[in-house]
Amino acid sequence: MTKQEIIQKLTSIVKPYIQNEEGFKNISENTDFINDLEINSANLVDIILDVEDEFKIHIDNDSMEKMMSVKETVAIIQAKMNA
């Protein structure tokens, strides 16, 4: 799966949780879930669980700790899919 495809899937995953439409329109690798999309921290775990289901991977606690931006999340998904 290419990085673009991963970002595309991730974009649909985060969509239900975003509270900043402007930030979502401009979503890119540098987007931060909380600062740019205003996703409530109570929904971060939902994103992580959705990512696990969508990409059929297991996200351990150390990886989860870093999943606050598109870039970090894509890197973790890539690493897990290639493992």
């Binding site: 600062n35 409530n40 109570a42 929904n43 939902d46 669980l49 606690n61 606050m68």
Partner: protein
């Protein structure tokens, strides 16, 4: 230096926006001990969100001291004492929490040291409408310091924690803002 953090959970919003019974939800965020306490509770839903608000308030307190961001709710372990007082342990840190529970919301304030109001430090917290929170804080600061409301400016630290300034001077020794659903809440010290 004493720091203060807070977190609000809108209970109706939590019911519609999150599903705590979803597979993996508890396992990823709560320790085994907390999961057992949740499952044995008369009202697991409330316990989930009380623990969550304690963890989040402690995290917001911690990140004002150590400026880094991460998502590791399981590393913050909650213990409840009487009357909704509690502790949260994270690594070598201990936080003291006080939670308020109503039928509409759960609000927790966490401190890394017991903060007693004194001449040196005064603490404030409140709950309101999410888009009025900044103004509520400014009004409170204006009332307590005599500085004009209009001259109090909100800034953010590099990790996004709020500060309130007057002519480049930081007024809040510690400050935390939270939003969830129809509620906003704050806790700060002067």
């Amino acid at each position: 230096m004493p720091k203060i953090g807070n977190d609000i959970v809108d209970l109706n919003f939590a019911k519609t926006q999150s599903n705590w019974e979803r597979s993996g939800f508890l396992e990823k965020q709560f320790t085994i001990k907390e999961q057992q306490e949740i499952c044995n509770s008369e009202n697991p839903f409330l316990k989930v969100w009380q623990f969550w608000s304690m963890k989040e308030a402690a995290y917001k307190c911690y990140t004002q001291k150590e400026e880094k961001r991460f998502f590791a709710p399981q590393k913050f372990e909650c213990t409840l004492k009487e009357n909704h007082f509690g502790n949260v342990i994270f690594e070598d840190y201990k936080f003291y929490t006080k939670t308020t529970i109503t039928s509409f919301y759960i609000h927790t304030v966490a401190e890394n040291l017991f903060i007693k109001n004194s001449n040196k430090i005064r603490k404030f917290s409140g709950i309101g409408s999410p888009n009025l929170i900044d103004n509520n804080i400014k009004l409170k600061i204006a009332e307590k310091t005599g500085i004009s409301f209009l001259e109090i400016e909100k800034k953010k630290t590099k990790i996004g924690a709020p500060l309130f300034n007057y002519q480049e001077k930081v007024l809040t020794k510690s400050c935390s803002i939270s939003h969830h659903g129809n509620y906003g809440a704050f806790a700060f010290t002067l």
